[in-house]
Symmetry: C2
Subunit: 406 residues, 2 copies
């Protein structure tokens, strides 16, 4: 199934909003085996939308998914424009309007008159229900291409995808290609490329490299599922030092679920990451079963008075050192009485770098009763990325620790 | 100046990567007064790119900015395709190749042969330097439309924008419209709309509402700068309870800079936010001057043993309560010896909700020697959003506290 995604909204073209909707829809449909042919974004302006629709309906595609501009305010013009494009008459849905009024009165908020347009329905298309919001979607068909308009609010669009569009696509699609992803962290794209390229030359499998601050995802696409799986396993072995998953799960999800499986409690002592590791761990539902908490020891006084770091060692080695990283991990484990303690200490930048200890220098450590693992990195990057890379390095050593028990 | 943005990359269409590049370019050029007419994303596939270029060169535009596909690996095909589109001959830049080889040998990494294509230059276009990476950009002109190709790595693209493209656009543009943004947090789009709509009816100023989990940005666009500024001030007064800035700065930047200005030190005690507030504060350069650190008290044992919360109160009121929020803020302020202590405690979800204390119930508090502010929210959302909204609420009370001293 060939799909294009049309995003409507001045806020996208002005850069006020990142287009996470196009990304979400692409990710979901690609996973179902659709081919996303194009993503287009146009302004909340009648002629721009009409021109774009005219172009899209000339393409050899099966489905157009459109988001944005169905809200209650006056800058939301999508409804009028698509009704005009499909020559639809506007009917007023009294039942839905009563439902809307009841909904608002139940939560004690007066309904705004501007919501009235959300009760409009077309005479020649259908309505797509919105299980969590007030703006419903619309479906039309023309030249055998199905067109669906959804609201731009991400949670409402996602609910509509889950309730209606994904089941519809699943019922129509014939699987024509297979995709696999090998996710790595801790090595640059070219290092992986040089490692992999020697051993995995197969014209039928397309290999792509997708670097981000979290690591490099290696993506395989091919028509032969057996071949794809063989190459996938080969590559994962070749890059085993950096490999963390074939799945869509983030490293924090993988790590928290491993900790829960082994019933290992954990505490964090964060310096340069400032709370990021705790934040990532607590993004995962169920983390409260294993995560005790953190001491974010951003200042030396907190390191000494609250984390119990030896003042002399702090002076001798400096806060950013192998020794202090290890002591932080051990101390937080003892203080919070957890099975594992992990720590970060480093120079995030932009200030604070020296020749011996440059910006991007980070030590991470893991302490348990039996083990002490300390790793040194130089991430050569900016504050935000150095923090993320540090958190990724910590999560990877927790994963490695858990896997020793598997 | 009318601009379109062309993003090339399978990773964008498959949803593996969010298209932050299109967003960044839009934001920067919109700020300079350009009109971004369209954003298009196509696959790393020769015909798709050629078809798209053909379409774009028919549009009434001045500039096409293209990103992606200039890397060293085999899936990076943009260079070949654009050279073919502009009928360019490939010349090899020996000087640049020697420079590249030296660069790699200086940092002790063997250069990959795959980098050779990054030394290719066109005979009928020009090169755009890359101050931080190896892939240079290209510039061509056809039918009076300037076409520029940049690498897809965000930091390299941004460096190229800053070094070359922004100065070029600035030198050519004639300012034809003005833009202002009023940023708010803590109120829904429709509440703001109903408040604002009564008093600010002006056909010459376009008002748009851009909700996100951080709040609602209200964006004004108009040709008359005086009128725009008047309406901007009017609206900021109308929504003063929720307003936090006219600028592009995030709330954490505003708050940290206020804390630095007043020399107020701060410590955080986080329960439901799990480290997010510390993470946001430490995203801001200079935060180490005012931020002492955090106790992330995710478990009750840490609340009692490390944060010093009264065990009887914890049993009497429950961890998610007005009383414990206040105690957490006061305790962390005292323990870390800071001017201000702030706290969060709440039910992030998806588990843990009850009828009396539903998912999304959050208390935030600020304690200083003179003051204790406690606020209750019900964010009715999912784990990730409840955390972000809580952090936003805390940052807002810190801002309000600082502004009492201004």
């Amino acid at each position: 199934m060939r799909v294009t995604i049309l995003s409507i909204g001045d806020e996208l073209l002005s850069g006020k909003t990142v287009n996470t909707n196009a990304n979400y829809i692409s990710l979901v449909l690609d996973g179902l085996g659709c081919e996303i042919v194009k993503q287009v974004t146009v302004a909340d302006r009648k002629n721009d939308i009409l021109d774009c629709l005219t172009d899209l309906f000339k393409m050899p595609i099966d489905l157009i998914l459109c988001t944005g501009g169905l809200g209650p305010t006056s800058d939301d013009i999508t409804l009028d424009v698509i009704f005009s494009f499909f020559n639809s008459k506007k009917l007023f849905d009294d039942k839905y309007w009563i439902k809307l009024m009841n909904k608002f009165s139940n939560i004690g908020i007066p309904i705004s008159k501007s919501h009235k347009k959300q009760a409009v329905v077309p005479d020649n298309g259908s309505i797509i229900p919105n299980s969590i919001g007030t703006a419903r979607g619309f479906q039309f068909e023309k030249n055998k291409i199905v067109f669906i308009a959804m609201p731009g609010v991400p949670s409402e669009m996602q609910a509509m995808m889950n309730d209606t569009i994904i089941p519809m696509v699943k019922s129509k699609i014939v699987k024509s290609k297979y995709v696999a992803t090998i996710r790595t962290t801790g090595a640059a794209e070219t290092i992986l490329y040089d490692l992999i390229n020697k051993n995995n030359d197969d014209d039928n499998i397309n290999i792509g490299y997708y670097p981000s601050v979290y690591g490099v995802d290696i993506r395989l696409v091919g028509k032969d599922l057996n071949k794809l799986n063989n190459i996938k396993e080969n590559i994962a072995n070749t890059v085993s030092d950096y490999f963390y998953t074939f799945s869509d799960h983030n490293l924090e999800e993988i790590v928290v679920n491993k900790l829960i499986k082994h019933q290992f409690t954990i505490a964090t002592a964060e310096s340069c990451t400032g709370g990021l590791i705790g934040n990532r761990i607590t993004e995962v539902p169920g983390s409260s079963n294993v995560y005790k908490g953190s001491i974010v020891a951003y200042s030396n006084s907190v390191k000494i008075n609250n984390l119990g770091i030896d003042k002399n060692n702090l002076e001798k080695y400096g806060a950013v050192s192998r020794e202090i990283a290890g002591e932080m991990a051990r101390q937080v484990r003892k203080t919070f009485n957890s099975k594992i303690g992990v720590s970060t200490t480093g120079i995030a930048g932009p200030g604070g770098g020296t020749k011996e200890k440059p910006i991007g220098l980070v030590y991470v450590a893991l302490s348990s009763k039996e083990d002490l693992v300390i790793k040194k990195y130089n991430f050569h990057s900016n504050r935000n990325k150095n923090k993320i890379r540090s958190s990724q390095a910590v999560l990877k050593i927790i994963q490695d620790y858990c896997e020793n028990y598997e």
